[in-house]
Amino acid sequence: MRNKSNNKNHDFTYFMTEGFSNMFTHGFMSFAAIGITVACLLIMGTFSLVAVNASATLVKLEQENDVLAFVDESLSESEARALEDDLLALDNVNGAEFITREQALEDYKAQFEDESYFQNLGPETLRHRFLISMDDISLMDETKAALLTVPGIADVNGYEELSTGFIAMRNVATVVCVALIAILFLVSVFIIANTIKLTTFDRRDEIAIMKMVGATNGFIRWPFVYEGFLMGLLSAVIAFFLQWGLYGMVARGITSTDVFSIIQVVPFGSIWYAVALAFIAVGMLIGVGGSLSAIRQFLKV
């Protein structure tokens, strides 16, 4: 009778069956808990997707913030072109597009409607140049310094203030989103714990009987853990499909109007697996965490 090893075998089938049938036996409370979890997951998911899209838009804007490396005037066009390999060999440089002085003048003129201003302006007034793109714009200072060390590069032009602004904006957006998601997560766990606590309260007599006949705390806890797990999983699946529909609707709205053309919309197809994984992980964490927190007080019999 006093064989402690009796309860060491985890009776998965029994606990899962109990958890599953408990979910249906207490149908209304389960429905309430799932509904709240779905709502919380949707809110958290929406915030996260806004953050992902904001980040993608900022990355796009950052990428457009290139640096111009001007070639020394004494170098011929072929000598200037030959610098490309040296520039690409530098750290943080991922592209170096050569622009001749003639092309640069054309580009410059194209910005103005009246070409008469530039009648006396020849291409020799401009320098050959490279349009340098970087992997990480936060390293703009270091990259500019490195570009200047390349023999034949006379000057470098870049807008650190703009890049610093983008980085600061992205950091603030990340911190705000992480903080909001963390708060929403805690609120969700609290709500779920209280909802499951109500279902557990409904079953306090059953738990007392289990204790009376010699059930260990683990034995009592497991069906609740599986119940929470199943409710979390079900909530995650429902929330995922709702999120998918909602995202598609908003994305279509944004892409169909020019007003929001600056916004880079990340296609759901490229992030669906991350959303699904996050929902399943968070849903199950909320369900199991809520169950464990709810049952704790009823085990002290």
């Binding site: 009778m1 006093r2 029994y14 036996t25 007392a208 009987i209 009376m212 006949v213 260990t216």
Partner: protein, 229 residues
């Protein structure tokens, strides 16, 4: 074997429920515990099942010392005891069979043991034909039989019955008490806490009388027995 030696139990609100109680119940005995309200009967049961710990004195139950029992050991202590309550405490949503199955699952019994033991115990309490009924489809006496069957199903060393006939008419009460006596004759120690004088008087068994947290009577025979303790 149950042994309480100079046990004092004082609750946090200052109530002194037991005041130097001494009691020994040997394996295989049948004992009635009687006494007025507030005499300490419920506290004795709580002590024996590990719900509360003694403030002073020693408590030994079926090889467990309740003075220094670890929390994880309490379920294993409870598996040596079958407890029966006045209000039956059955799970209403489960059938008679499932109420017993549940109790056996709790202790990790194998499907083979379950298949063998439940029909045997149901027959012992005379409910072999009501295994699939829900508790509320049964009479009070039958519900108490289910509670007794559940208490017995894990083959405990001791049965503790707390006012087991409190909700039953005299005829059903006698049936339940006779059933408990039969279980005792099969080797299980039985402690019955009751205040039904007439019922106790029908059995020629040991009676322990409590008053103000102490044993004031202990002897075989009638309810009114007074020991010179």
């Amino acid at each position: 074997m149950i042994r309480l030696t100079n046990v004092v139990k004082e609750y946090s609100n200052g109530t002194k429920a037991l005041n130097g109680l001494n009691l020994e119940i040997k394996d295989g005995e049948f004992v009635f515990m009687v006494g007025p309200s507030g005499s300490g009967k419920s506290t004795v049961i709580k002590l024996l099942t590990g719900e509360v710990v003694p403030t002073e004195g020693r408590v030994m139950v079926n090889g467990f010392s309740l003075n220094n029992i670890e929390e994880w050991q309490i379920p294993y202590l409870r598996r040596t005891i079958g407890i029966i309550f006045q209000d039956f405490r059955l799970i209403e949503k489960k059938s008679v069979y499932d109420n017993m199955l549940f109790a056996m699952r709790v202790v990790g019994a194998s499907p083979r043991e379950i298949k063998k033991r439940i029909p045997y115990v149901l027959k012992l309490v005379g409910l072999e034909n009501k295994a699939s009924r829900l508790p509320d489809e049964l009479s009070g006496g039958e519900q108490q039989r289910v509670a007794i069957a559940r208490a017995l199903v894990n083959n405990p060393v001791t049965i503790i019955a707390d006012e087991p006939t409190g909700n039953l008419d005299p005829a059903r009460s006698l049936e339940i008490m006779t059933l408990l006596k039969k279980i005792n004759e099969l080797g299980t120690t039985v402690l019955v806490v009751t205040h039904e004088k007439a019922l106790v008087d029908r059995f020629d068994e040991r009676v322990v009388m409590l008053e103000r947290g102490r044993v004031v009577g202990d002897g075989v025979g009638k309810y009114k027995v007074k020991a010179n303790a």
